[in-house]
Amino acid sequence: MPSDEDSAFSAAYSSNYADVLRYVQRRASPANVDDVVAETFAVAWRRRDALPAEPRAWLFRTASNVMKSTARRDARHKNVALRSWEPPHTGADLVQGLDVIAAWRQLARKDQEAIALHAWEELSDQEAAAVLGCTRATYTMRLSRAKRRLAKILRPAVEPSRADQHLQPYEGTS
């Protein structure tokens, strides 16, 4: 007969597998996705007597740590640590899409992660903070700064103050 821990693990597994898989797919190189997901749930299995009641953020954090550890170990297998996101080939508005893609690529990875947890994983600030191992207030601030930096990359013209604009004309216009 399965123990309570086994039942709790099964529930956590079936309700979070897809989310963990997508989380890892967004961050690991395709060749490593299955290994990272498997290792993440193996860690959860080994700790099944102490899983949080709502394990999603814990699982994401564990997956993130697995990816960090794997990145250290895995150079031989051509792991691309913290891969840069590759755009899909179709888009509703290609030109604008390309702007966002270019801006996204210029964004620091820390900022990408802050935004991704919000926009892709659709986590609450509390959950995202748990994934990153910081306080909720810190995450909220990081997200807000990251969005501001992305906006700045997307529309540099309106970002500087008037004085700065005066001193720093656009490239190619001076």
């Binding site: 597994y13 299955d34 700790r47 102490a50 150079a75 640590a81 903070a129 191992g133 969005k147 906006a151």
Partner: protein, 357 residues
Amino acid sequence: MTEPDILMQVRALNPAPANELTPAEQRRMTQLAVELSQASVRPLRGVTSPVRRRRAPLIAFSVLGAGALAVTLVATNVLGLGAWSGGADAAAADVLNSAAIATLGVTDPVVGPGQYLLIQTDAVYASHGADGNGEITSYLDGYRDELYVPADQDDDWVWMRYAHTPVQTFGPASEAFAAEMQPLYEDELLRAPAGTFYGGSPKEISGDYDSLPRDPSQLLQTIYAKTDGQGQSRDGAALVWIADVLRSGTVPADLRAALYQAAAEIPGVTITEQQATLDGTTGIAIGRVETVTNARQDIIIDPKTGQFIGEREISLDAQNGLPAGTASSSTAVTTTVVDAAPEGGTQYGNHPPGDKP
């Protein structure tokens, strides 16, 4: 553009939208559940990352310094090689078989009570990443690991893993990528009873080592079975497995001899460099080219003493921003006996997976 607009656009960039699982993904989910449920019976297979298996120096020491009986038996096998008709070319087979004989004359280090076997590994691996323009760029990263294995293997093992340091870059994008990656690395000190680093278990593999046949042909068949389905080819996967085992740094002389001889039976194995230098030590490189990837796996041996110097993988094509002929990975291994190990360290190093939110 307003903030909600920006977020909407970022959402549109999501590389893996939260769609329903595909049938293939569902199959993998089921398969993993089965593996996990069997984990209490047998350690997970395929769940631990293959590189952890490759890099974790997990080995049975009970055979270190094994008695004269084992040595004699293997020596008989070595000397009985007149009828040998293996797969490596004749010159490579000669080197491997001579090395096998020579290595049997080497006394394995004896770890006394309270002492540690220190396995020092200096490795270089290529790190790959996107350069921001959709191109892959690479640089070579240096790794230094020190593993302290206690005389009583149930005691704490200690693993000092130093932060990576870039060894070589290849142009501005490569340099920028290396600079970007460096802050991610840090020294990490691990300590775990019986070598259970990262929650893994060395017992599974030490069992494997004890049970490995010392007869070269049988050993090679065992290796083929163990590596079934891995790599680009059966023979390539077998040689990589041999290199991985040798670089653990703790292979006892009789098994080392058998591994050399097993390598001598792998088709396509040749002498690839007469004077190969790894981490300042020169030996002879024996290897095999994987035709699909055009990459070559070498093991480097001191032909006089049979000492294993290291192993490397060389990409014969320019790839991922690395010039043709670059060693995309190489490992040099040295072992010594020491009286003490560093204090401190945790089972999971700096990134415990059990952090609670």
